[in-house]
């Protein structure tokens, strides 16, 4: 198996993004707890959870919030692997960014390091607090995105009076990125099928720039055709939408319980200070 060049690696990553997106849609169709709740309620409650996550200061309430969110993810049939990645993968980046605070924040010494440096207790707490905040916020955002179909999420944004043009642009960008990625992959495979030797990086870069040119031309042509297809069905520049139906009783219940639980954590946190 020949070693993949940087162009192929990039495209494989893009293909991976498409697969991930399809997988996320599949998760959103499962019959879990959050999947049964109206997207508008989820936007409000989980948005509130992110606010609470950013405000909590004591670690017990932060851990309680994180635990509650993980329980919601498990009850929504999100696979343990995805939850583990969420808890231990992404926050590592925060750790890298926050690491200097371990040493730089003044306070009682916790651990002596070489070169006269030391980790302080205050620094360790501040890094832990940041880590817990980021992880809880990520968990809340993931709970929304992984249990809500993209179309429903957009509809929820419309319900909150996000300008329709903005929502339409988001929807169409998401829609046509797949078409263009498919074309880019075809271009790559067509080139690879005619390669008889290992190509140099300079050649790869030249090819990539011409492929992007083709892609740009294609996206221009597609945008013109899409506009014509919209005009052919009566589009006159003003997006329209079906009015969202009213919330079910279970949605009101989820709204009340969810908001009350996160608000209670906030109050407990305030009382502890």
């Amino acid at each position: 198996m020949p070693r993949r060049n940087f162009v192929e690696k990039t495209l494989l990553d893009l293909a991976g993004a498409v697969e991930h997106s399809v997988y996320a849609e599949e998760l959103a169709r499962r019959s879990g707890l959050l999947q049964r709740i109206d997207p508008r309620v989820k936007v409000v409650v989980l948005g509130f959870a992110i606010l609470v996550a950013a405000s909590l200061r004591s670690w017990p309430t932060q851990v309680a919030l994180l635990t509650l969110l993980v329980v919601l993810l498990v009850a929504s049939r999100i696979p343990p692997g995805a939850i583990a990645r969420l808890l231990f993968g992404l926050p590592l980046f925060t750790l890298v960014v926050a690491a200097p605070a371990l040493i730089l924040v003044p306070g009682p010494e916790l651990l002596r390091l070489p070169f006269g440096l030391s980790v302080t207790t205050t620094g360790a707490w501040s890094v832990l607090t940041l880590l817990l905040r980021v992880t809880a916020s990520l968990a809340a955002a993931s709970a929304l995105v992984l249990t809500t179909r993209w179309a429903d999420l957009l509809a929820a944004l419309r319900a909150f009076r996000v300008p329709l043009v903005f929502v339409l642009v988001l929807a169409m960008a998401y829609r046509y990125v797949f078409v263009l990625l498919e074309l880019l992959q075809d271009l790559l495979l067509a080139r690879r099928s005619r390669l008889l030797r290992r190509d140099e990086n300079t050649e790869q870069r030249r090819w990539l720039s011409s492929a992007l040119g083709v892609l740009f031309q294609r996206s221009l042509r597609t945008s013109e055709q899409v506009y014509l297809a919209m005009a052919a069905r009566g589009y006159r520049g003003e997006p329209r939408t079906l009015r969202n139906p009213s919330l079910a009783e279970t949605d009101w219940l989820a709204l009340s319980l969810g908001s009350a639980a996160f608000a209670a954590l906030w109050l407990v946190d305030l009382a502890r200070l």
Binding site: W150, R175, F178, Q225, A229, R233, G234, Y235, T241, L242
Partner: protein, 274 residues
């Protein structure tokens, strides 16, 4: 079919960027209830003609009348275009450009929403159309999750839901597997039996044989009709089909038999078929 004229084109021409000629001085009449097949090779102007008939392109010159109204300027007149799009639907060759909404349901509901129908009527019409085309199970799917055949059906649904009097179809069976192709042809035949006017642009002779009540052949150099008539006359005229680049001299079709002989030669030649 009746004698009511749906479209009347007089001397219609169209050029892209005033340089590339797509249509040249086209005269054509399309009557209500007919299944007209515009037969022509790639680049003969078929797709451009459909976009002109749907009021999306304004002819460079000539006049276009639809349902008794002059609609030559429909591409530049939103009100005229809006009026036309309630009566005429266009199914594009490339279904990906027609399916731009997040889900199949949203795509099928798009047209009725633009027409300002009440919500309940839209939901009812979308459900009925999806059911008629056997694609109710696709309602919540995203377009990128559909196969080629499913995309074509959904694209047709996006037009049928608006209940247009005329349906324009650009290469409707392109890139379809045999089963999807047969199902689509049967569906179009049923629409024609129910009285819809169909205008189908294609270069596929078997599609024309299956659906056409009349055929107009477009020449690839002429960019205008070079022959017209009933399918049994047009499709048996080998000289015309060869001249119009719709069959090849050495690999072509005689009713149910495919005539094929591959060979090297250094000069053009003719042969007879019995």
């Amino acid at each position: 079919m009746n004698d009511t004229t749906v479209f009347e084109l007089s001397g219609v021409s169209y050029s892209y960027h005033n340089r590339i000629v797509a249509l040249r001085d086209v005269d054509l009449t399309i009557r209500a209830g007919e299944a007209l097949v515009i037969l022509g090779p790639n680049g003969s102007g078929k797709s451009t003609l459909l976009k002109i008939l749907d009021g999306l392109y304004r002819p460079t010159s000539g006049r276009l009348v639809a349902f008794g109204h002059d609609i030559t300027a429909a591409a530049d007149d939103p009100e005229l275009g809006y009026w036309l799009h309630q009566r005429v639907g266009l199914v594009f060759q490339e279904p990906d450009v027609q399916l731009f909404s997040p889900t199949v349901f949203d795509d099928v509901a798009f047209g009725p929403l633009q027409l300002g129908w009440p919500s309940e009527r839209i939901r009812q019409a979308v459900a009925t159309t999806l059911d008629e085309l056997g694609i109710t199970h696709l309602a919540d799917r995203a377009p990128f999750e559909l196969s080629g055949g499913e995309k074509k059906r959904v694209a047709l649904a996006t037009v049928l839901v608006m209940d247009p009097e005329v349906i324009l179809l650009d290469e409707p069976t392109a890139n379809l597997d045999p089963r999807s192709r047969a199902q689509l042809i049967e569906l179009l035949a049923e629409l024609h039996r129910r009285g819809r006017t169909l205008v189908i642009a294609t270069h596929e002779l078997d599609l024309a044989a299956a659906l056409a009540s009349r055929i107009v052949v477009f020449g690839e150099r002429e960019h205008r009709p070079i022959a017209e008539g009933p399918p049994d006359r047009i499709l048996t005229d080998q000289k015309l089909l060869i001249a119009a680049n719709l069959v090849h001299e050495h690999l072509h079709w005689h009713g149910p038999i495919v005539h094929s002989h591959l060979h090297w030669h250094d000069a053009e030649h003719q042969h007879e078929h019995s």
